[in-house]
Symmetry: C2
């Protein structure tokens, strides 16, 4: 027979799949001998069977009866026992913590009869309050009655009596309320409040199961990639009461500060209260330390238990507990969530305390956290925030408040920076969200539309800043203290911390970035010290190299300070901007081979000097220089603008010959889909002199650096190859030119020549391409665009946000590498490339090279290095280290 | 020891790999007991060894000596024997016939001594003429002396004597010429004409080997996909002489007419001549039939041998022979080349004669040949051509003669049809070739630049019309009879037949097309009868289905007449053109959901009627309707034109509000790369009402056809899917709408819903997509564009021609499916799609569905059907049949 129910004493913390997170940890604490109220867990398997068949599996009822009987014997009281009823709590508990699911029902077992017995034993007011709570929770979460009806009745009772707080209602008021509440249930649920305690229990369990398939839970799972078929467990536990006098209470505690990572005791305590009162925020909690005065014995016991848990879990734990008449009970524990800063500090503290080793510490931080620590932050010396909300998408953003999408787009087009402010966002706001620097809402949490879309698009976002009253009609919002912010007013939001500020708050670089940039850390800055130690270990263990994408000596220098081991992508087109645009225009407009050659001759010394400087900055390290990639018309004016201008010239009788000729050239070079047109290696084959000039410049730069005593390590990279034949021609020509340069300059210019793999066909024919290439560099941006058949720019401004919003994408394939499509091509090309040419160097130079998830995947795929923007180099180093210590690509638990 | 030399008697016709085509067939004839002069073949293996090591393999010399000795014994004469020398011919012979390689050297064995012996035995003039020919051929082809030097000396000798023909030179003149020729060799080759006959032989053999790696041979192989490492064989044969009197001669013969396929004897004969005289065209040949009068015995013998060969080879043979003093010698035979019409007629004749079966007949024709027969042709009743050339790329083209690329482009832009006329083309002419209807050159053959590029781009081309004198400076050409054709004059070229006509020759549909279209063939039209029989057999044996791409009832009807078994692609966007463009404009410009719905409501009945008519035309057969694919802005005016217009409106003080608003919409919808933008399923997800309207129209059309008693078989196809999630949403919505339509219309509208696989990612995730799709249709156009990362339109007007020209592509991947890239994705998707959903229907609806090579490959890849333009349906049927009878995807021999 399948076992659907586990006593707390028969599970352990590693049984999360079966018992859920909460159940597994309750079992673990029970077995550690900690004071957990007796109880049992109904397994996720029971839930799955329930969902599949639509009803409880037949064995479940028998097992439930058996375990209930055992619990009753142990407690010496029976469920529904008229003189001394056993009361139970029922709590959901999936493998992953999941908002949107039914959470808790307390006081199961009370009914019209047993409530009087409880009143006799524990006090009238307490008993009727317990019963009122049960009916209210049961009515809303199990029977589906609108919770606002109960709230209204409660408010009405208080108003009738002229009091403000629940505590001001006496036993008689509460008795009357239970009658009202029962009436509400009968009216709106179409059935009376069940009086059979066992029926209460089974209905509550069924309701937990049902909540797994509720819409909010489904949406949450889709967004968080939690499989739909896990199911939830249900924890049934004997009630303990924190609300039976001042020798009782309830609290939450952390074994270290989850905000900063500081060691010590952190938490909140609320005397004479139940857990839900803390959550509801009806009364103010006191710092946990005050418990030492209120109940020194319970306090010492709590500290002891916290030490036991931390030693046992070897991590920050968060705890829920209740004290009933001086007796401490543990209701829940789990490894606690923490901020990015706390993650780094706690991990290194635990190493120092001998609880974990350096590998484990590395597993416990993430590149995403490091990225958060590297975002510029608001200067701390500035005024207090006007509101706080959920830190939904990181980054500090400053801009003018706007209250609708259209205004956001218009102002952004006019060059203004804007923050889109809404009560909540919906798909109609997408254009505005794209146009804005950041998004601020007064409603919704981390999984709201605003949060999900903003994260997907990399916009800063603060959600659910509930103190703000947003009035979109009048285009303004009001803060808690009555300050009114109008459209156009400057505001600042910190998507990492959740703060909202009035005015433009100055932004300063993070201390972590200052450290990477070579500044000495401030003495005692434990965060920087923790990051530094973690990075050192990551560098020691990682196999994956980290290079940077950099086009100037300045960028190269910074990348090197940030730990880059070379340049994986130096884009030569960036050297044709500014003053030099005229030279490339000459090249394009040249009508004869001589004219073209003249233009190229003028470009040669400039390119050479660019390369000399970059090679100097990266002396001794590889510098991969990509030959010209974009289509030539990118260097010319916009067709439509120019056509309008020429038409106007003519209309005004002031024809401009040069402009008209330029228009002709632009029209000639115009392409319907330039991304798929004459660029990269195609340009190199059609205008051989162009690549020839660049190769010559590289060869001469290498020679010059050698002459200066340097150690230049240039590599030449050919973009947009689709077929080995293209590369073969270019390589042969490049080798000839490099051979020519050698005697001319008195130095040998030997550089590897490789190719980008950025088209599906290149990946599919990688074996043959490898025969011509010294190295591969996966251009994951273009590879994603062609594999998906979408242009990033066009897609992001049209359907992308809608896709993220509808869950078609969980995450944009430009943010994190798409394993199933692009990833499959990379694996195939890596395998077939290396088979054809053992030892072929494989790198990545698309933006994914700096994305934490993608970096780990690149490690698993066996690549040699990633290349990313200089700023992302530390993130890539960290994730490369983590990848090396995370087995099977799994995450830390 | 490796065997490098085979006596003719020890080979056979199946040893082409080792002995080359000529050698294998000489061996076959020898073994058939036919009169072949004794000789032997040096293998391709010897050639490969020679190329690899740079010198003859050591064993070769010994084997050559051995075989030579055997030959000498058999002939009773020795090489270089002073009184009666054995003379040899040396001929190259690769597996595939290859222009560009050294062909023949005759009279090896003659030297200053033996020539006098020959003179004594065979006549003074004959002997010195033989020696003169040897020195001339040896000097040019073996020693590399410029052939024009010998020609000039020969001309000089004739001029000095005041005669016109070679035959007017007497023995003394020829003796003098040999002295001059030897002087030319000594001067220009830096060595004397070798006098040692064996050295002559080995040098000639080495020269044949060397010619394999010559540039022209390489280029030819690259264009014809012949591997570089095959090597050539060398045939050494005892000389026989057709030039020893009027009882001797030489000729070529065909066992049937290679032009029409008519049975009978076809060929040319030249008395008292050697083969090279026929080729050189110095004297006029006589029809082969005249040999019956000249030498009845030899003629009867020749006819007997031709019958033997045809029975033996079971195919049209072509033959080279020589008669020496009444004795017939066979110098070569091979299966003869033939025109498309001859191929069909001969194949069916041979079936009727019992020589081959119907499968074999099918293998012997090709879709490319059928296509040639289907091209419109010039009306036969028109005047004679002004010139003939090589039929380099099929099709009839009419246009105005232009003589340079720039003029071609300008006139084509102005809407004129032009024919580009050049002496020969080079890469600078590419733009003009693209702009022209056809290309005509006076120089070059089937592998010239013009021919290769025109075939690659599908332009009609006649090459090497050498009777034309092209004067590009004066922009005119002159015909043989002095007619001058100027720029702008109308000319017509027939790329299938090689004719050039003055004026616009009327073009008529081919009789084969008229037959497919249902017209009765003219009585006695054997070609049409042969095609009809072949098609019938192809249909009987083929496994691959053939459907058509058709968007109107008219196209559908024609496709059905042409044999289509359904519509594989019905493009709904074509239904939004013409008058209806306004409705789709309304849809796009609608600013409210209501406005959009109104526009869609207006479109619904029109779409429904379209579908009703197409379903009627294809009653009982599947009709796959693709939901809207192109981006919406394709239905709006061009951005640049509109911007200019609006700017001018404003400048003139006549602002047009509507036009300005239209411009705004065009700007809003503008995409940098529309092919990769908001289109297909993306549009369906962003504007759900659009697809909803189309699905409803399909459902209602099916219901209407059922009500009319029809058998409508609509299938709904979703374009541009990259991920299963996209399809899932659309399919769910479509099913809901179809379910709604069912009760509304009183009929059940059940149609399969499938997807196009036209993005690499769709192919890479086909397993998951198959879970949502009832069928796959590979859109090979878009799949090629995204796999290669190139836009067909942009590529063809910029770098494509250069790629074809440089041999980067052997053929455009849009002409014939790219096996290595696109094909690999198709195979993968077919496998994984069928694994996920056994029985999944797989089709192809890109243009490759009508390409002969591709159709055969789709058969091999296991697809269920191809869909192509109605006109290509017969070609696809034929190739599908051929695919079924060609084992292992191999070609007929």
């Amino acid at each position: 027979m399948r076992r659907y129910v586990y006593d707390f004493a028969s599970g352990n913390k590693d049984m999360k799949d079966l018992l859920g997170g909460k159940g597994a940890n309750l079992a673990e604490m029970t077995n550690l001998g900690l004071p957990v109220p007796p109880g049992f867990t109904i397994t996720t398997e029971a839930c799955r069977a329930y969902i599949t068949s639509g009803s409880e599996p037949p064995e479940l009822r028998d097992q439930l009866v058996t375990h209930l009987k055992a619990l009753e014997e142990r407690m010496g009281r029976r469920l529904g026992q008229p003189d001394d009823p056993l009361l139970l709590s029922v709590r959901s508990g999936a493998k992953f913590s999941m908002p949107g699911m039914m959470d808790t029902i307390l006081n199961i077992g009370l009914n019209d009869a047993s409530v009087t017995a409880l009143a006799a034993r524990a006090g009238e007011r307490f008993a009727w309050d317990c019963y009122r709570r049960l009916i209210q929770m049961f009515g809303t979460t199990v029977l589906g009655v609108d919770g606002r009806l109960f709230e209204a009745a409660l408010d009405e009772a208080k108003r009738g009596k002229g009091v403000a707080g629940d505590l001001d209602l006496d036993a008689g008021d509460l008795w009357a309320l239970t009658t009202t509440f029962k009436g509400l249930i009968a009216e709106h649920a179409g059935r009376p409040m069940p009086q059979d305690p066992f029926e209460q229990l089974t209905l509550a369990v069924g309701a937990v199961f049902d909540s797994w398939t509720g819409e909010r839970a489904r949406i949450y799972r889709r967004q968080e990639h939690i499989p739909d078929d896990l199911g939830t467990a249900v924890n049934v536990m004997a009630m303990v009461f924190g609300n039976v006098g001042m020798d009782s209470g309830t609290g939450v505690a952390f074994t270290r500060d989850p905000g900063t990572g500081q060691a010590g005791v952190y938490g909140d305590y609320l005397p004479d209260a139940q857990g839900e009162d803390v959550v509801a925020g009806i009364r103010d909690t006191v710092p946990l330390q005050e418990l030492e005065n209120l109940d020194p014995r319970a306090y010492r016991e709590l500290l002891r238990i916290m030490r036991v848990l931390e030693q046992h879990y070897r991590d920050l734990c968060d705890i829920e507990f209740t004290i009933e008449r001086g007796k401490l009970w543990m209701l829940q524990t789990r490894v606690g969530k923490r901020t990015a800063a706390a993650a780094f500090r706690i991990a290194t503290q635990l190493v120092d305390e001998g609880l974990i080793n350096a590998d484990e510490a590395l597993r416990r931080v993430s590149g995403a956290q490091l990225m958060q620590l590297m975002f510029p932050r608001f200067d701390r010396t500035t005024a207090e925030p006007i509101a706080r909300g959920v830190s939904a998408s990181p980054g500090a953003a400053v801009g003018r408040a706007v209250f609708d999408s259209r205004t956001a787009v218009e102002r952004a087009r006019a060059g203004e920076k804007v923050i889109l402010v809404r009560r909540e966002t919906n798909p109609d706001d997408l254009a505005g969200m794209i146009a804005a620097e950041g998004v601020l809402t007064s409603h919704g949490g981390k999984t709201s539309h605003a949060a999900v879309v903003a994260r997907g698009m990399g916009r800063a976002c603060v959600c659910g800043a509930s103190a703000l009253e947003v009035d979109t009609d009048r285009k303004r919002f009001t803060t808690a203290d009555g300050t009114v912010v109008h459209e156009g007013d400057l505001i600042s939001i910190d998507g990492s911390g959740g703060q909202v500020h009035l005015g433009a708050v100055p932004v300063v670089p993070s201390p972590v970035v200052r450290y990477f940039d070579g500044e000495a850390a401030e003495p005692g800055d434990e965060l920087v010290a923790a990051v530094a130690r973690t990075m050192k270990h990551a560098d020691a263990v990682r196999r994956l190299g980290v290079r940077a994408n950099a086009d100037t000596a300045q960028d190269a220098e910074r990348a090197r300070r940030f730990g880059a081991e070379g340049i994986g992508l130096c884009r030569t087109e960036h050297m044709f901007l500014g003053d030099r645009r005229r030279l490339i225009e000459d090249l394009i407009l040249a009508e004869t081979p001589e004219g073209r050659r003249e233009a190229l001759d003028a470009l040669l010394p400039l390119q050479r000097q660019d390369f000399i400087e970059i090679l100097r900055a990266m002396d001794g390290l590889p510098v991969t220089i990509r030959l010209l990639d974009p289509p030539l018309h990118e260097f010319l004016p916009d067709l439509t603008d120019l056509a309008v201008q020429v038409a106007l010239d003519k209309e005004r009788g002031e024809p401009d010959e040069d402009r008209a000729r330029l228009l002709q050239a632009v029209r000639r070079l115009h392409e319907e889909n330039p991304m798929l047109g004459l660029r990269g290696v195609r340009l190199g084959l059609v205008i051989p002199d162009l690549f020839a000039m660049q190769v010559r410049a590289i060869g001469e730069a290498v020679a010059a650096r050698r002459a200066q005593g340097g150690d230049p390590r240039a590599q030449i990279m050919v973009p947009l190859v689709a077929d080995a034949a293209e590369l073969r021609v270019i390589v042969a020509r490049a080798r000839r030119i490099l051979a020519e340069v050698a005697p001319e300059t008195g130095a040998r210019a030997r550089c590897p020549i490789g190719t980008m793999i950025e088209l599906p066909r290149a990946a599919l024919t990688a074996g043959r391409i490898a025969e011509e290439a010294d190295f591969f560099s996966f251009g994951t941006n273009d590879l994603t665009q062609t594999t998906w058949g979408l242009s990033r720019d066009d897609a992001e401004s049209s359907f992308f946000a809608a896709y993220l919003d509808k869950g078609v994408f969980p995450v944009s394939p430009f943010e994190s590498v798409d394993r199933d499509g692009v990833g499959r091509l990379i694996e195939l090309a890596a395998l077939e490339g290396r088979t054809a040419r053992p030892g072929l160097e494989l790198g990545v130079c698309g933006e994914h090279g700096g994305d934490p998830d993608s970096v780990r995947w690149f490690h698993t795929a066996g690549l040699d290095y990633v290349s990313c923007s200089p700023f992302r180099v530390p993130v890539a180093r960290l994730e490369a280290g983590r990848a090396a210590v995370i087995r099977d690509g799994g995450e830390n638990s």
